[in-house]
Amino acid sequence: METPAQVLSMHPRKFLLWLFIVSIVMIFASLTSAYVVKQSEGAWLIFDLPQAFIYSSIVVLLSSATMQWAYWAAKKDNLSQIKIAVGVTLALSLVFLIVQYLGWGQLVDQQVFFVGNPAGSFIYVLTGLHAFHLAAGIVFLIIVLISTLRFKVHSKSMTQIEMCTTFWHFLSGLWIYLYLFLLLNN
């Protein structure tokens, strides 16, 4: 009897995560296209992007770096380093949220409100929705941190931290995309 070929397959949970990311991408792709379409129709308010967004971009990139550090530490079974790295990432993510909030304050100072010209409303929606997803990422980080404290994250059990790292890089990439998008279309 002939032997049928094995089919290609990946880790189903990681695959689920990727598809989840695809659907988030579609949300932001549609909102940024809506932004472009609306802008091209005119009646568009022009104002400066808050300074805070530069700082939050730096913070989010740093947090990506520390997340990667956590991942490498896990690969090398360096438990104490994983704890530190995940902890730092967690702290940076909270800093990020605070800086974003300050950014909203700077918008208000310029008389750009959520309710008003869509040019302003869009910024609140895009940053708010990103922050919402980042908050979901924070929950994930906390789960990883707890598993780390229970010695469940190590080189033989990488799935969770690997997924968290993927998601985290996605979140910071998403922010950088949004920031550049707003910068270029302002």
Partner: protein, 624 residues
């Protein structure tokens, strides 16, 4: 996400008689919060059937208004209460609520959740040879989000101001200004809440289907050995993952406009002479976002039905499906093209005529893969040994509707023609044939065909035939006349036409359509009886009642948790080896190795064996 582990072999080894008593599962785990794909499929199916009855019932009520404008509907007061006016008529705003809810329920709850939810769930693991979905837990969540969505939508019928009334497409400003009409108030809010739950449900389902198809196929089940059902479900899920998030964006901005006072979709609006504060928005923006989902959505509705039809037609023609690869390519083509034609719903929205002609061009291209599918069905049927099971009749009915409704799509796709026909009953006729009826028939075909696997019993064929003929003739009698009414200029969603002289001539035709609709709707109760009675009392199903090749028929009569009792069967051939020359029987299931069928192997199959070092003589060498 930590419960998403793949189901392993934990349940194998149970024997058939015991598959009803999993001692580890109590009633709630087995029938309510079940993570078994077969149970979830049945939950989707039953919920879908209930919604279909509600949605169909609504349409009968508004057909009464259209067909018998002077009729006294006092007898409906026990159900509709204050929506019957003191003169015994349907309240005119409630009429709009009826058409809105009919559309929403049919498109989303019945033909999306009821169809994909049932058959993707039931057939994907069974036909690709998997023990369950990639994540049983997310799958269960998918059903319960759908359930909650339905509960919220249902509640909106019972509130003071009535359900949403802006049409199933809920265009702003009507939907964005809570004061615009009664249905734009709380009813619209509940509609949006329900839709958000629905989107989450669809995404959870779709993500799971795609992951399962890609990662959990059994040994030998390469992509080009997948039954066309699976290809269709797979691509439907891909379309859903890419388009439902866009509906989410559209709904989110609408929620902000309604409840927080933003102006994404609103500008320069006066109510009672007073200008609203909103400036800078555009209602057209909503149309773009909505139809970016809306058009792919119509293919989400039809592709699973086409997949089911491919399978049923090939099985019951006892012939390989004609042009298997062409079928896959046309599915792929439809998937891709469905994302670039959305503006054909917006030809009269003030779209630039240049853009309009680009979208017209792309729209007409999508007719090509659609036609390829229609021709392939016909050529599969051509000179087949056709066995007219009820499922087969419904599949042939689908092909008929898909052709007759698709043809009018080509008219509508031409912007110059569409400017006249847009928002008339012609459009209503088009999509009720090509989408509504075709997809409904696909669903029926699926139910009649896989009922034996779902419940282990047979449905009654005679009742099936009666159900088919009444419904098939009924659908044409209901929807065909609507073309003429539309060409005469009847706008859709109007409460009454009797005030217009131009439309007086059509009163009789409208009455005729309403009578046909009532008969067609009543015929569905034959099906309901056949379905529910035979779940309990039907004749026990044989192992492979239709002589089918796919893997689900290798499971026990009522498959237990984990689907197969021993190892999962391996797959050695494509699913369409029907009436293969030389073979003793007219079908060879997918799990039969080539080495066991030397008499019917084709030369390339002999070659394939040779490469593995197995020498079997080709019986057909030279014949093909």
């Amino acid at each position: 996400m930590s419960t998403t582990a793949v189901h392993t072999n934990e349940h194998i080894g149970h024997d058939d008689a015991h598959d009803h008593e999993h001692h580890e599962l109590n009633f709630v785990e087995k029938y309510i919060f079940s993570t078994d794909h077969k149970t979830i499929a049945k939950q989707f199916l039953i919920t879908g059937i209930i919604w279909a009855l509600i949605g169909g019932g609504l349409s009968i009520i508004f057909r009464l208004q259209l067909g018998f404008p002077d009729m006294n509907l006092e007898w409906l007061r026990p159900i509709l209460g204050k929506w019957i006016t003191s003169t015994g008529q349907i309240d005119s705003e409630f009429y709009l609520a009826l058409v809105t809810m009919h559309g929403t329920i049919m498109v989303f709850f019945v033909l999306t959740a009821g169809l994909s939810g049932t058959f993707s769930n039931f057939l994907i693991p069974l036909q690709i040879g998997a023990r369950d979905m990639a994540s049983g837990f997310l799958n269960m969540l998918s059903y319960w989000f759908f359930f909650v969505s339905g509960v919220v939508m249902f509640i909106s019928f019972f509130i003071e101001t009535g359900p949403a009334s802006a049409g199933w497409t809920v265009y702003p400003p009507l939907s964005a200004l809570p004061t615009a009409m009664q249905g734009s108030g709380l009813g619209m809010t509940l509609w949006l809440v329900a839709m958000v739950f629905f989107i989450v449900s669809s995404l959870l389902g779709g993500i799971n289907y795609v992951t399962t198809v890609i990662n959990l196929r059994t040994q030998g089940m390469s992509f080009f050995r997948l039954p066309l059902t699976i290809w269709a479900f797979f691509l439907t899920a891909v379309i859903g993952i890419l388009s439902f998030p866009v509906l989410f964006s559209a709904a989110l901005l609408l929620v902000f406009d309604r409840s927080f006072g933003t102006s994404f979709y609103l500008s320069d609006i006066y109510i009672g002479g007073e200008a609203l504060p909103n400036v800078g928005g555009s209602p057209i923006l909503y149309q773009h976002l909505f139809w970016f989902l809306g058009h792919p959505e119509v293919y989400i509705v039809i592709l699973p039905a086409l997949g089911i039809t491919s399978e049923v037609i090939a099985t019951n023609s006892r012939k390989p499906i004609f042009g298997y690869k062409a079928m896959i390519l046309s599915l792929l083509g439809i998937t891709i093209l469905s994302f670039v034609v959305w503006a054909h719903h917006m030809f009269v929205s003030g779209l630039s005529p240049f853009l309009g002609s680009i979208f017209m061009f792309l729209t007409l291209i999508i007719a090509v893969p659609s036609a390829v599918k229609a021709f392939n069905y016909l050529t599969t049927l051509w000179r087949g040994n056709i066995i007219f099971t009820p499922a087969m009749l419904f599949s042939i009915g689908l092909v008929s509707f898909f052709i007759s409704g698709g043809l009018t799509g080509i008219f509508l796709g031409n912007s110059a023609v569409d400017i006249n026909l847009h928002d008339t009953y012609f459009v209503v006729a088009h999509f009720h044939l090509v989408m509504g009826s075709a997809s409904f028939f696909g669903m029926m075909a699926g139910i009649y065909h896989w009922f034996p696997k779902m419940f282990g019993r047979m449905m009654n064929d005679k009742l099936g035939y009666i159900h088919f003929w009444l419904t098939f003739v009924g659908v044409y009698l209901v929807f065909f006349p609507l073309h003429y009414i539309g060409m005469a200029g009847f706008p859709r969603r109007y409460y009454s036409f009797t005030n217009f002289d131009a439309f007086q001539d059509f009163t009789d035709l409208n009455t005729f359509v309403s009578v046909a609709a009532i008969i067609t709707f009543s015929a569905q109760f034959i099906f309901l009886f056949n379905f529910f009675y035979n779940i309990f009392r039907g004749r026990k199903a044989p192992a492979n009642p239709w002589g089918s090749n796919t893997l689900e028929w290798t499971t026990p009569r009522v498959p237990g948790h984990g689907n197969w009792e021993g190892d999962i069967p391996k797959v050695y051939r494509w699913p369409y080896d029907y009436s293969k020359p030389g073979a003793p029987e007219d079908f060879i299931p997918q799990h039969i190795p080539l080495t066991e069928t030397p008499e019917s192997n084709l030369p390339h199959e002999v070659e394939q064996l040779k490469e593995e070092g197995i020498e079997v003589k080709a019986a057909n060498a030279g014949k093909s």
